[in-house]
Amino acid sequence: MLRYCAGDLLAFQELYRRHSAALYRFIAWRSPRVEWVDEIMQDSWTALHFARDRYKVEARFRSYLYQIARHRLLDLIAQHQLVLASDLGCDADGVAIFEHMADLADGAQELLTPEQSVQRRQENGDLHAAIAALPSVQKEALVLQQFNHLSVEEIAQVSEVSVETVKSRLRYAMQKLRQHFAKNLATPEELA
């Protein structure tokens, strides 16, 4: 990052190679609309470029980058005055995102048998729906912890909350997902 701050293009390219996929994942899981993802992605890297002089060595670059993307997302949401579907639990855009992700997942499971593919598609769809049903803060913590592999401390730094708050959000997200899977995994006899 210091080399990039000095104007080294190769240093930037290395940073982009390491963090672009994870950042895009975070944005894709967090953004309420699919068409916003690329826009937020470009704006995040551009903002990082112009804000690189304010970067402090004490902070991890990943946390710094995710903070930039998160702020950009929140600004965009505030501009459109959207009420996130995840906050209400029934948003069509959110469903659309996870359906899109499920379609992407289907493409990666071509080696499975047709039965297995159908079962896996159903499971992923249910999981996407369960994640989309989480409150935004819980979903944010869950995505950062499970998909971006950030520590609790880093999540607390990105989300600008305490570590205990992050843990609490993660516990609630875990319990909701478990309850969702318990319903889906239970046989009709068990439900009766």
Partner: protein, 363 residues
């Protein structure tokens, strides 16, 4: 409060060891497209290059600011064009000061002229009185009439002094010759140069500013002609310019037994004042140059001859003809009348011999 069982499940969830976390990891994650990657990287690369260009331009601009280029031939003007008012200001100050000095000088010189003459007169008077025991009375000219003169000129003056007779400086309003008998012993300290030269019987010239005082002491006296404002002004008004240069010898003089102070205000300018000389006195005794006026010779005899009336020449020619014709008695009578009329007339040698023959015939 969470039980230990739930806490264990949570820790397993965080570490990806439970079934839920494995299912989450199995989900297909979205990834940016190659086009988006290229777009973002190209955008940042272009921005970096632009920034580098800006840095280079700033560096060049800083270098340019440190050493700004100056077009050849205009460097001096570019430096001096902001200081154009300095020579103008200096010139203006000089012009104002010169004008002021000229005006102030013209105002101060006119009233000071008589005063300077008076001071100089005192010095000369002191010198003459201390070293030659000549009481001198100097009456300073009246300053009221001085402004009529040229403001910056101080006229040459001549004063005839006698070493044994009291000398009076006279200021005449109508005539340059005046004689008063008011001896005033001077006791002021003498001017050394004046005194020494006066003792040696030499001509002393004291020049202060434009005043020239010539003291001619040929054991007969001194001639000192101070310029007075009144006399000079009036004389300049009465006499033509060429007549102001007349020497003392050109003035018709009559034999006078009284002490004579011949004072002539030479109203001259520049070199004319320096040409003004004392009246030549030749063969004078130490004391009575007034009574023994016959010893006074003119410097320029031609000029002196011009002073003799033409009637005298005709008169002499008539006498000469009478002698030649043998009319000795008539010639003797006419010669007696002529001597009375022109006692100082110098005869030519031929005429002088004829007169001697005439006087012998009488005897």
């Amino acid at each position: 409060m969470m039980s230990e069982h739930q806490e264990q499940h949570f820790e397993d969830f965080l570490q990806g060891k439970d079934e839920l976390s494995r299912q989450l990891k199995s989900l297909t994650q979205p990834s940016p497209s190659a086009a988006l990657d290229q777009l973002i990287q190209a955008k940042i690369a272009a921005q970096l290059q632009l920034e580098q260009l800006e840095v280079e331009q700033k560096t060049v601009q800083k270098a340019d600011l440190k050493a700004p280029p100056i077009a050849p031939g205009f460097s001096i003007w570019s430096k001096l064009k902001d200081w154009w008012y300095l020579p103008v200001a200096v010139t203006a100050v000089l012009a104002i000061s010169l004008t002021h000095n000229v005006q102030q000088g013209s105002e101060n010189l006119s009233p000071a002229q008589p005063q300077q003459v008076a001071i100089l007169g005192d010095s000369v008077r002191s010198a003459a009185s201390n070293h030659q025991s000549v009481p001198i009375t100097i009456i300073p000219p009246a300053p009221a009439t001085a402004p009529a003169l040229a403001p910056k000129r101080i006229k040459p003056i001549q004063l005839a002094l006698s070493t044994e007779r009291p000398v009076q400086a006279a200021t005449g309003s109508t005539s340059s010759l005046a004689s008063t008998s008011a001896p005033a012993p001077a006791t002021a300290p003498a001017v050394s140069e004046v005194a020494k030269q006066a003792e040696g019987g030499q001509t002393v010239v004291i020049t202060g500013l434009r005043t020239k005082i010539e003291v001619s002491n040929t054991n007969d006296g001194m001639v000192w002609t101070p310029a007075t404002g009144a006399s000079v002004a009036q004389q300049s008004a009465q006499e033509p310019q060429n007549e102001r240069r007349r020497d003392i010898s050109t003035i018709p003089v009559t034999r006078s037994p009284v002490p004579v102070l011949e004072m002539k205000a030479g109203v001259t300018r520049g070199a004319e004042s320096e040409r003004y000389t004392t009246a030549p006195i030749s063969g004078a005794s130490n004391t009575n140059f007034g009574a023994d006026f016959g010893r006074v010779k003119a410097v320029d005899k031609v000029e002196e001859k011009n002073q003799i009336p033409a009637a005298a020449l005709l008169w002499l020619q008539t006498i000469e003809k009478q002698i030649d014709n043998g009319k000795m008695e008539e010639a003797l009578q006419e010669w007696g009348k002529f001597k009375q009329q022109y006692p100082n007339y110098v005869l030519t040698p031929a005429m002088h011999e004829k007169i001697l023959i005439l006087e012998k015939s009488k005897k």
